[in-house]
């Protein structure tokens, strides 16, 4: 979007409330909801992609080294990846602990 979401006035919306940009929900960063974040142990990761297919927020990305990790801009911290990982290489770390 040309402007940040909160600065758009109702007069500037399209007639019929049409969203003209595709997939611009990415402007809204759901990562701020998180209280726990997934941390991947790179050496243990077998690069299978199970976390990627089960992520409801489509926020798992493949890093250059081949392992999968969460995009913390969108990760809501649900913990599905940590639970479903077949080798258990993902652990949930509280955000408060830093």
């Amino acid at each position: 979007m040309a402007k940040p979401m909160e600065q758009i006035k109702w007069q500037e919306l399209e007639v019929g409330a049409i969203a003209v940009e595709v997939g611009n929900a990415r402007e809204y960063e759901t990562g701020t909801w998180r209280s726990e974040r997934p941390v991947v142990n790179k050496d243990q990761c077998i690069k299978c992609g199970v976390c990627w297919i089960f992520c409801p927020d489509a926020c798992i990305i493949q890093a250059a080294q081949g392992h999968f990790e969460a995009d913390l801009t969108y990760c809501k911290g649900c913990g599905i990846c940590a639970r479903e990982c077949p080798v258990g290489c993902i652990s949930m770390v509280s955000e408060e602990e830093g």
Binding site: A25, G49, I53, C55, D57, G77, C78
Partner: protein
């Protein structure tokens, strides 16, 4: 993972048509189901979606999480709108105003819009034989407005309009069997799926979109908020529902039933019920009753499948 190697996730289409940044609750298996369905359908798709969780979380103006043409319609008429789209596009292609192209027409709705409010238009669309797909995301109550009971709520579940207490055990009626209603329309393809079995789900969606004529897919979508479970357990409970035969996965192709997944070891229904807050008031006697109902329903289904499995 279901009957595939653990590495088969890497063979799946990488493009996302339902993007990050949607506002579903943590661990929403319904959002996962939408993501997987869109992955299977690809970009040549037109979606009409009834009011419900998925409409609210994906399209707060001015943003949208969709990368395909998407229209929000009222609670009851998603199937009517999609059948109109299909008829219109067909006419435009016939007159040469549009190039001939295979387009997937998809109507989506929750269990409230499918089982209660949109039942009539859905029945009409299936009967008229449009080349469309109806996907029902069944989270077993009206989760969007705060967990009110729908006719797809299972027996014994406590919701805000069927609360459990001294005189009540929660929902007192059985779950409406929507796939059987769709089968009764004699349509080419009906299937049940669950987002805990992603490859099975995507295979069924691909099959349904390839078939010409109406198709219906019923997807069990675990709702951590409404089922009162931990968000990280969402996938596990879908798997438990299937393994306990509460929600068997099958498909009906031109009237022929086929089980697509048989549990290696059938779990007692208690395993599925015990962790869920909405069932925690149930006594042993009631669980016994549910177990018996589940076994009866499964036996009926097996009979239709010709005794396989």
């Amino acid at each position: 993972m279901d009957r595939f190697s653990v590495f088969s996730s890497r063979l799946v289409e990488k493009a996302e048509y339902f993007t990050s940044g949607h506002r579903a609750c943590q661990g929403c298996a319904e959002a996962l189901a939408v993501r997987l369905v869109m992955k299977a359908l690809g970009r040549d798709t037109i979606v009409a979606m009834a009011t419900g969780c998925m409409e609210i979380i994906s399209s707060p103006l001015p943003t949208t999480a969709w990368k395909v043409p998407w229209i929000h319609v009222a609670f009851e008429n998603s199937s009517a709108v999609v059948s109109g789209c299909e008829a219109g596009m067909k006419a435009m292609m016939r007159k040469g105003k549009l190039n001939q192209k295979k387009i997937n027409f998809v109507a989506m709705g929750g269990d409230g819009s499918t089982a209660d409010i949109g039942m009539g238009p859905l029945s009409g669309a299936l009967e008229r034989g449009h080349d469309m797909l109806y996907v029902c995301y069944d989270n077993e109550a009206y989760m969007n407005t705060g967990i009110q009971r729908s006719s797809a709520t299972p027996f014994g579940a406590s919701t805000t309009t069927s609360p459990a207490g001294k005189k009540s055990i929660g929902q007192q009626t059985q779950k409406k069997n929507l796939p059987q209603i769709a089968v009764a329309h004699d349509i080419p393809y009906v299937a049940t799926a669950c987002s805990s079995f992603p490859f099975d789900l995507m295979q069924k969606v691909k099959k349904a979109s390839a078939i010409s004529g109406p198709a219906y897919i019923h997807i069990l979508s675990v709702c951590p908020t409404g089922w009162r479970i931990q968000p990280h357990d969402a996938i596990r409970y879908g798997r438990l529902a299937v393994d306990a035969n509460v929600f068997p996965l099958y498909e009906v192709e031109n009237g022929e039933y086929r089980l697509t997944y048989t549990p290696y070891k059938v779990l007692p229904v208690r395993e599925y019920l015990k962790g869920q807050g909405r069932f925690r008031h149930l006594t042993d006697k009631e669980i016994e009753l549910i177990q018996k109902n589940v076994e009866n329903d499964y036996a009926k289904l097996l009979k239709k499948c010709g005794g396989q499995g």
